[in-house]
């Protein structure tokens, strides 16, 4: 589903990097469940919107950290191999979606 075909070697994440990202995603998962409970309990719309904003902000931060890592590893590798332009084009396409 929307997966990219590419030959770039993925630089494996360190265990610490993985743990940090997974923690953030688990917290986001918990926040999404929290909103489900708010809907079930007929909580005030504005309070629900505040929580949705909090999740969006947390997701953006995960996205930024994935993007920064991607530039420091995959894009940097591609540039060193002289294949920077294509890698940058790919990144720009996803950044455009991301900042919508």
């Amino acid at each position: 589903m929307g997966e990219h075909m590419h030959d770039y070697t993925v630089v494996p994440r360190t265990d610490e990097e993985k743990a940090k990202t997974l923690n953030r995603l688990k917290r986001i998962e918990g926040q999404v469940r929290g909103i489900q409970k708010m809907v079930e309990e007929d909580r005030y719309c504005v309070d629900i919107l505040v929580q949705i904003s909090a999740i969006q902000s947390a997701l953006k931060n995960v996205g930024y950290s994935v993007t920064e890592r991607h530039m420091n590893h995959c894009v940097t590798d591609a540039i060193n191999k002289g294949e920077g332009e294509e890698s940058i084009k790919e990144l720009m396409a996803v950044l455009k979606q991301f900042s919508k």
Copy 2:
């Protein structure tokens, strides 16, 4: 945690409205878990970013539908009681956060 103190009566959601919103939130929860799996499996950063964008877009849609319902019920009620201005101020504050 960021909850609003207010006297507005919350118009209870119908069972159908609840079910629809809960379904969307459960799908979003599943998508967040999907990203966790992608991180664990060291999947390509750009593919992860694409999935994060998809969740953001789904969350925004939930936010819009909560906002529209809020305007049709709570804000409309407040306006009918002559207390529209305060209700609109409250909504604007959350919309500013939301569209960040």
Copy 3:
């Protein structure tokens, strides 16, 4: 170009409201010209991006103030006439575009 057909009476802006909004828009116009100068002078991309962000933020604020005024006047009038739902639907459509 994208203009809406509608029967809503537009509540005229006071001279003060107009002057305030026009001042903000004139400042934004000046900022856009400032960026043109930066491009002509081959200024550093990141400095240009910082200025673009500043304009976006200023434009958003004009948008929020137009939205709040719209809710306090046009939407409130529509609700008082029992035509709220349509007016809210119209506003939601533009908010979705706006927060893209």
Copy 4:
């Protein structure tokens, strides 16, 4: 005003690149003036919001093209000199502001 101190050499834009960017910025300047006229003429709020959205979208596109150029020149140069990490950090900071 918010200018960065840096040693990166700015790769000069070609005349064609400049002309293209300047054209887009001039069109945006015209759009901003168009909104001023709409405010003066007491035009419908929603029509004004639609025009503001159009400008935001046009500005974003200028921002993306400046960002892509920045990555293809300045960031790529920095990476080739082994100074990529700092350059990427600088870009991330501005992207975070930009997608707010």
